[in-house]
């Protein structure tokens, strides 16, 4: 009983914290509306510093940076918002707008149609969304399985068998999607170049050959790291090494 009580207290504490954060967020929004974008950005950052996050928070912070003409930070925050809410239309729109200000134009290598489909399906929901899909599918499977076992009527039994199979397939797919989304959200797979311009090196060494130059705002995939050096991968297939100071993980 005492455990339960502690849990309940903790829950309320959480809720009250969350309320406080919401208040802070709304204050920041007010400052933004009043035109003090710089201050608003600081307030959003403060919430993040306290350890809370939300797609809307990243999105608003991105907007603030955009207004301050700080494009790489805007892109970084939009990307973070997109990570949490892959299907938010506003986030995608503003991100696209911010990306137009990026100097480097990188043509992505076209992916296999199958991969693209899977990517777009996977991006339908966040990891939490996929969790819910998976739980619902599992429960559907369980209920229809129970019907299959209990009912004597052939028609009902046949229907419930199909339902069970479908629910199992959906839950397996959603588990896979969930795992991948979770990986995308948790692991820092991508990063944004924050330095105005950096030369990408051929090896994790200052003396190595300059391969190409990237400018602020470019999104790169992080593949590997050696000490302070990160191996990056560009959508057009280029690979190189960058000092970790010149970019920030999404």
């Amino acid at each position: 009983m005492s455990y339960l009580r502690i849990l309940i207290i903790l829950f309320f504490v959480q809720v009250s914290y969350a309320q406080e954060v919401s208040l802070q967020f709304e204050q920041a929004n007010q400052v933004y509306r009043n035109g003090d974008v710089q201050k608003a950005a600081g307030m959003y950052e403060e919430i993040l510093k306290n350890g809370y996050e939300s797609p809307a928070l990243y999105y608003n912070l991105g907007n603030a940076h955009f207004k301050l003409n700080n494009i790489p930070s805007a892109i970084l925050n939009y990307e973070r918002a997109k990570r949490l809410a892959p299907h938010d239309d506003d986030v995608s729109y503003n991100l696209r707008l911010a990306n137009l200000r990026v100097i480097d134009k990188i043509e992505p290598i076209p992916q296999l149609f199958f991969t693209e489909w899977w990517q777009s399906i996977m991006n339908l929901y966040s990891a939490d969304g996929w969790s819910i899909v998976m739980i619902i599918a599992l429960w559907c499977a369980a209920i229809s399985f129970a019907i299959l076992l209990m009912m004597r009527s052939m028609l009902i039994r046949k229907t419930s068998l199909i339902l069970t199979a479908a629910a199992v397939v959906i839950s397996v797919l959603s588990i896979v999607a969930l795992r991948q989304r979770e990986h995308q959200e948790q692991a820092q797979l991508n990063a944004i170049i924050t330095a105005a311009s950096v030369s990408v090196k051929s090896a994790p060494d200052e003396q190595s050959t300059d391969l190409f130059i990237l400018h602020e705002g470019v999104k790169v995939e992080l593949v590997d790291n050696v000490g302070n050096w990160l191996k990056i991968h560009l959508p057009d297939g280029k690979v190189g090494w960058l000092a970790s100071a010149s970019l920030e993980a999404i």
Binding site: A18, V21, S22, F25, E26, N29, Y32, R33, I47, L48, G51, Y52, E53, S54, A56, L57, Y59, N60, N63, A64, F66, K67, N69, D90, Y93, N94, R96, L97, A98, L100, R101, I103, D104, K105, A127, D128, W130, S131, I132, M134, I135, L138, W139, A141, A142, F145, A146, L149, M150, L178, E182, E185, Q186, A195, A196, S197, V198, S199, I213, H215
Partner: protein
Amino acid sequence: MMKVLAVVCLIGLFCSVTVAMVGNFTASVDRNRIAMGEQLELTFTLNGSSSGSNFRPPVFNGFLTLSGPNQSTNMQFVNGTTSSSISYSYVLQPRSEGDFTIGSATIDFNGNQLQTQPITIKVVKGSPQAKQQGSPAEDTDIGKQIGDNLFLKVSVDKSSVYQGEQITVTYKVYNRTRLANLNITKLPAMTGFWSEDLEQIKQVQFAPEVVNGKQYNVAVLKKVALFPQRSGSLTLDPMDVECVVQVQTRKRSNDIFDQFFNDPFFGNQSNVKHTIRSQPLKITVMPLPDAGAVSSFGGAVGKFSMETWLDKQQTKTNDPVTLKVKISGRGNLKLLEAPAINVPPDLERYDPKISDNVTREGSFIAGNRTFEYLLIPRHAGEQKIPSFPFTFFDVDKKKYTTLNSPEFVLSVEKGSDAGSSPVVGLSKEDVKLLGEDIRFIKSGAVKFRRKGESFTGSPAFFALAISPVLSCVGLFVYARRRRKILGDVTGLRNRKARKVAQQRLVQAKKFLQMKKKEEFYTEVSRALWGYVADKLGIPPAELSKDTARLSLEQRGLSVEIVSELVAVIERCDFARFAPPSDSLTMDTMYNEAEKLISTIEDNIR
């Protein structure tokens, strides 16, 4: 000009020619081997008399007669004896190379015809000697008069140099004549060299100098520094200087005073133009040693230092900066190539502006050459201009020396006019979109969560995800167990009913063959009853004909089949205890039972 030299001795006029001698007529040349362009003096001399007549010269094949015949008479008194001679001289110039023979000349003397010996002349190619221009006889004479007294000499400080190394060439005029004026008519074409005058000579100044025991007035006409641009044997063309010399001209006449007072004081002074020419000069140019040749070597030979600087360390985008590279020292400055500078691609580099400042340090060409690179930063950030090398060939040390520039770091801030920075890779449609604004911030009910915290992986998630799986497993296990308890007997009997009945009929068939009537009917009866009981799921003991009939009709069997079944069973029971019947009846019975079972199997629900 025909020149007749007649030497008449006054005394000789009073002396009778008493000595009658046998004439000796000879031909002589000043040399037997001459080069093309040189002149040959050919003289036919009759010794012993000055009264030869009817001189007939030979035909000069292959020679051009520049002057002649020039007749001269000579008379000598030696110890009281008089000797006289007459000579006919020619100045010839070869027309072509090869061996030529000058034929015999003849003269009549004392009624005898005298003949000279033919002379062979070898004409070789090319003259190292300056040839006399135009070469009319008059010039020749002046040339003779001037001779060694006025010449042009070219000298070099070294005759063998490296490619690009400086050579100093000096043209000097040596004079012992009355030189009225001189004028350089042809400057040597310095092909293959970069030349730079070391001294600009405005006025020729003579200074006395003794050469081979003779005092000359010597003046430097030209002093030039040459930098060979290619290796090999290079030749400096001769320089032509037209001089106006005061000479005494001799009349063609037989004016004896001219002969006697052949002296400038008495002579007829006149200004004569005379061209003097320097010797062509051969210079051996060694190629630069390949060993140690560096990729950054751009042809600089000499001794240099390099200075580099940026005009500012900080700038804004699109605000140009200038990188200056000043190379100063001695050497082939004007042949210096711009050092290769690798600037980051974010800096737009233009071709360098080159300015030279050439000075003279003694007999060396020195100065500096400045390369100005205009760099325009296009993007903000720290732009690093890496160190670049400049290599020259040090003539003194005979090796390559590389100078390295310092590394520059240019910090570029974002310019105020960000709009003018080129926007890369936008289509028109994209640009239109740029004009649009971002969507406004989100507000209202926003759910926050702690960073890294998510529903996925939380205990609730696992509980919700695992519980349906567990309940399914539980349900399945429960259902199996229940079926075992409930449905096993009836279900199993139902499924195996036909098989059991078939086995009994097989047994019955055995009894039929053994003619065991009673056992046969028992078996058939049990097969049928057992089958019905199994199918209906009723224990055989509880099965009566009425219940069987009712149940079977309920399960969809027609009344006829049920009645037939009951009839067959009754006949079986009856036949068991009846008197022996024939095997035919038993066969019929067997077939009927078999048929019935399959009928029921097909029709029962």
